[in-house]
Structures are given as C-alpha cells and as structure tokens.
C-alpha cells in the first residue's frame, strides 16, 4: 500500500471533524473582542461613577434634590449606556471581523446568523424587561437584571460558538444574583461583570485560540 492510501482514513476523519466543527459553531469570535468590550464597560462605569458622585455632591451642597436633577441624571445615564453599548459592540465586531478575514472564513453565514439570533432573544427580553421596570423607577434592579439576562444569553449562545463562553455566562448569572442581595452596589457589580470578567475571559480566549496560529 502506498503511504497516500494508508493516510486516507486519517485524513477523512480529520476532514469530518473539521467540517462538523466549522458548520455548527461560529468559531471566529476573537478573544480581543472580549477585552475591547470589557475596556469600554470599565470606561463607562467610571464615567457613570463620576456622574453619580457629582449628583450626590449637589445634594450635599444644597441639602436637597430637585426633580430636575433626577431627570437630568436619568438622561445622562441613558445616553451613557447607549454610547458604551455602541462602542463595545463596534469594537468587538471589528476585531471578530478581522479574525474571520485573516482565517478566510465568512462573517455572515448560517453559524453566525444562528449565534446572533440565540443571543438576541434573551437580550431583547431582558432589555424590554428592564425598560418595564424603569417605568416603576426600580433603578436598583437594573444592574442585576443586566447581568442575569446577559449571562443567560451567553449560556444559550455557547451551543453555537466557542463552548467556553458558557463559563463566562455562569459567572455573569451568579454575579447578578449576588448583586440582588447587595442592592446599592449595582455599578460595582456591573463594572466587574461587564468590565473585569470580559477582560479576563478575552485574554484567556485570546491566548487559547488566537495566538496558536502563526
């Protein structure tokens, strides 16, 4: 038997594995995307902290809150959240797109469509849920709700992308639930969950998947 023939079964098995993996999971997700999203979140949390500091500073100097102050605070936070989300999304999308380009893989195929859909469903549910809560001024539950719904979205999405994202999801859920018992520290929990955890996860994934290839 020639060596070409003897290697055939091995090559077939490798092909089958590669195709199964590639056709069922979106594997271009870049670890650096996690780091970028985490940095955006930490920046946002810092700005949020300064806004709050300023708000309470006002209270101390005047001894009272006016309704206008609170309305302005709400608008500032809504704007801040929108900007942080847009920056985090754009930067992580760009880094993932760049990785897909480098590996010669399509960014929009049935694997990424399915991943996107499975992320969007829990996130959209969470988003509407939080907007509903805000109609009753339940501000203290915003951070835990964000963390829990985001964690659920990640656990759900882990079936369609790199499986390790499941553990990030578990951590976000636990953090959100713990936050429910430490109401008032939402910004801190939010910064840990969306900032620190993303950065740690991103670095781990980057070292595992993005650097092995020369």
């Amino acid at each position: 038997m020639s060596s070409d023939q003897t290697n055939q079964p091995l090559r077939d098995i490798q092909d089958i594995r590669r195709i199964m993996d590639r056709s069922s999971r979106f594997i271009s997700l870049s670890g650096l995307s996690g780091v970028a999203a985490g940095v955006c979140a930490l920046g946002g949390a810092y700005v949020g902290y300064r806004i709050l500091d300023n708000y309470y500073g006002h209270f101390d100097s005047r001894g009272f809150f006016s309704g206008d102050d609170f309305d302005r605070l709400k608008i500032k936070f809504a704007l801040l959240a929108a900007v942080v989300f847009a920056l985090a999304f754009a930067s992580s999308f760009y880094l993932t797109w760049r990785k897909a380009q480098r590996d010669g893989l399509p960014i929009w195929d049935h694997t990424s469509r399915r991943l996107a859909w499975n992320m969007v469903v829990p996130l959209l549910a969470g988003g509407i849920f939080i907007i509903g809560m805000l109609r009753y001024d339940a501000w203290m539950f915003v951070a835990p709700a964000c963390l829990v719904f985001y964690g659920l979205a990640l656990v759900n999405a882990s079936k369609y992308t790199l499986p390790e994202i499941r553990y990030l999801g578990y951590c976000e859920i636990i953090l959100g639930l713990v936050n429910m018992f430490f109401i008032g520290y939402g910004l801190w929990f939010w910064a840990i969950g969306f900032g620190v955890l993303h950065i740690i996860y991103g670095i781990v994934m980057w070292r595992k998947y993005d650097t092995v290839k020369s």
């Binding site: 079964p9 091995l10 077939d12 092909d15 089958i16 195709i19 056709s23 069922s24 195929d109």
Partner: protein, 100 residues
C-alpha cells in the same frame, strides 16, 4: 479475514463532497443549498449531483420550501443516513487504530 474494518466502509462516502455533506448534516438539523455550497466550496451542478446521489441512497431528505417568492431547498439527514455514516466513521477509526 474476519471483521475486516474495510468492510464497514461505505462506497457512497468515498467522494469528498458526499463526505462533507454528511458531516454537515450530522450536526445541523437542516441546512439549505447555498449554505452547503458556501461551506464545501463547490459549484452548483457538482453539489446537486452529489445531493441527488445521497437522496437516492435514502441518506438525506429534501424539503422544497419558499422564502418569499424564492425557492429555498433544505436538506436533512435520515435515520438510515445517520446509521450508515456512523458506521463509516467507526470503520475509519478501526483502520487508524489498526495502523498504529
């Protein structure tokens, strides 16, 4: 020879394209023609021929549907296709083990 693993190999899966189609359908509930084409990097005609072959063997089932006005043909694996392909994989693994 008794239990020669080569006996477990299925001639149908000797083609790279048919092997690829079956691998994809093992892990995806259903998938349409264009996604298959994109993943396997083959021409329309080539892929169509192999799909007909797999269908005639009873390994895949075809569902012709519509997305708007466009036809959207999706493919799924059948029970016997799943069995035949699993058998094929096992035979390949046996052969690799035998070589070591």
């Amino acid at each position: 020879m008794v239990n020669n693993p080569i006996n477990g190999l299925n001639k149908v899966f000797e083609s790279r394209i048919r092997l690829g189609v079956m691998s994809i359908l093992m892990v995806n509930e259903e998938i349409n023609f264009n996604d298959l084409k994109q993943m396997l990097e083959v021409t329309d005609g080539n892929l169509a021929t192999h799909l007909v072959n797999l269908e005639e063997n009873g390994f895949i089932k075809v569902h012709k549907g519509f997305v708007g006005k466009k036809t959207n043909t999706t493919y799924a694996i059948t029970k016997s296709g799943e069995r035949a392909f699993t058998e094929h994989i096992r035979a390949l693994e046996e052969m690799i083990k035998g070589m070591k």
